[in-house]
């Protein structure tokens, strides 16, 4: 979907936990909480608080207030999306809750862009994940002793928020490509990168074919949280589709942590991973012109603890956002 009049990412902000602050992108966060509890009693509340902080920081940067927003598009990983709904509770802004697993941030940004191109002036896109709330929902209690397989990923404790508006401040969202649900039969929930790579490949190749562009037209192509295994598989899948992702390809899951040192096995995951990396790292670089044309593809593994126990395979979905530092050009 190419936007006739590209919309601006007016401002963006990222919030993270202690481990994220210690990673290579630590300096890109607007706020780091030292104990990952964000002053709250439960992990779920901490995640809501993270979203509130990220939204507030993003609004502050562009000098707008919550009441200037026409819509909030938000999502997270918790059952019934409570982190998003609870953080939007006091906002009095129409709220559209989303679930796309770890693809949620691109989903929120894409919808915000389409609304801002049309009926809305300003939209707020938010997504979050919290290691502790995700762990207790999907895996084991925190203090339970066990080893992680090398293909597993570490859910990021982070949130990202972006204000998408009708105005002239760079960067711009030029196009959006919502992905199809793809499943190539992976059923190991400790290898979500492999489960999501086919969906990223499907979305990317569709986008390249539809826009008559190829990977060399972009200075950065970044996937959400494929991790080391998924990123490798995506490169192979894209080669089979006839596209060489080349040197400009990276993955937010590989950027957020130092994998060996911080012991995160295959890399980071979670809605917060791509939300924070896109909001805190990529958008500012686009704004200052260090990056010109970027494709960001958030990837989600659409399983639930129930579906995994029932032996289902893990479908994936990937949504793409095409950013540019200039309003004209590329297509």
């Amino acid at each position: 979907m190419i936007l006739d009049s590209p919309v601006s990412v007016f401002s963006s902000a990222a919030v993270g936990g202690k481990k994220e602050g210690e990673g290579p992108l630590g300096a890109d966060f607007d706020f780091i909480n030292e104990d990952s509890r964000f002053g709250e009693k439960t992990w779920e509340k901490a995640e809501s608080k993270m979203q509130e902080l990220a939204a507030k920081a993003a609004l502050k940067k562009c000098g707008l207030s919550m009441t200037d927003m026409d819509f909030i598009f938000a999502g997270d990983l918790l059952n019934q999306c409570i982190a998003s709904a609870f953080s939007a509770r006091g906002s009095k802004v129409p709220y559209i809750g989303l679930y796309g697993a770890c693809s949620t941030f691109a989903e929120a940004l894409g919808l915000s862009a389409i609304f801002a191109e049309g009926i809305a002036q300003n939209c707020l896109a938010v997504a979050s994940s919290h290691f502790c709330s995700a762990e207790r929902q999907y895996r084991f209690p925190l203090e339970y002793g066990g080893q992680r397989p090398p293909s597993s990923q570490w859910t990021a404790t982070a949130s990202g928020a972006a204000v998408v508006s009708k105005n002239e401040r760079p960067p711009f969202i030029k196009a959006v490509c919502f992905g199809t649900v793809e499943d190539l039969g992976i059923n190991d929930q400790n290898n979500m990168g492999a489960a999501m790579a086919p969906s990223a490949s499907a979305t990317l190749s569709t986008f390249f074919k539809d826009t008559y562009t190829d990977p060399s037209d972009y200075d950065l192509i970044v996937t959400g949280d494929l991790g080391a295994v998924g990123a490798e598989l995506l490169k192979e899948l894209m080669e089979k589709e006839g596209f060489d992702l080349g040197e400009n390809y990276n993955d937010c899951g590989l950027m957020l942590f130092e994998r060996e040192k911080q012991q995160v096995e295959s890399g980071a995951s979670g809605c917060g991973c791509s939300a924070a990396v896109i909001s805190g790292h990529i958008i500012p670089k686009l704004r200052c012109g260090e990056l010109k044309n970027v494709l960001a593809i958030s990837t989600g593994a659409l399983m639930s603890p129930t579906s995994v126990l029932q032996g289902e395979t893990i479908p994936g979905v990937a949504h793409l956002i095409c950013f540019s530092s200039e309003k004209g050009g590329i297509f």
């Binding site: 207790r136 339970y144 190539l184 086919p198 499907a202």
Partner: protein
């Protein structure tokens, strides 16, 4: 998609890193061994304090469970387990960790419907099938003695 699930499975197997078996096995050997050594030392200590063999064994188990529960409570056990793997899982200390960790985790949902309901989420299967296996074993033992 030009790749079939079968082909993809092969690609995935090639891309996924292998578990470091040697490292994990040696970690489990040493940590598991250390727990057993500690158990044996406690057993000898209790015997030297003048306890009979059954009481000393019982107290050894209780001590190890208490130690594991405390280590879990102060957030150390999962760090040992990260290194020790099966060596921390198999001894009685692993079982204690499996009960204490959900108890801590689900306290936020209340003492009855949180802690009370979820305390056996990890250890539950061990209790169910352990009990079942002991019934089967008991039945076989009974029949064998009759013959």
């Amino acid at each position: 998609m030009s790749v079939s699930p079968k082909e993809y499975k092969k690609m995935e197997e090639k891309a996924a890193p292998k578990t470091k078996s040697l490292r994990n096995l040696s970690g489990a050997f040493f940590i598991g061994g250390a727990f057993c050594l500690l158990g044996q030392a406690l057993l000898e200590l209790y015997k030297n304090l003048g306890m009979g063999s059954p009481s000393a064994s019982l107290l050894t188990s209780v001590s190890l469970i208490a130690l594991s529960a405390v280590l879990t409570g102060i957030g150390v056990y999962d760090k040992i387990a990260k290194f020790g793997g099966g060596g921390t899982l198999v001894p009685i200390t692993g079982f204690a960790n499996a009960v204490v960790s959900p108890a801590m985790e689900y306290k936020s949902e209340g003492f009855v419907l949180g802690l009370g309901v979820k305390i056996f989420t990890v250890a539950g299967p061990v209790i169910v099938y352990g009990t079942l296996a002991s019934v089967v074993y008991g039945a076989i033992y009974y029949i064998m003695n009759k013959i």
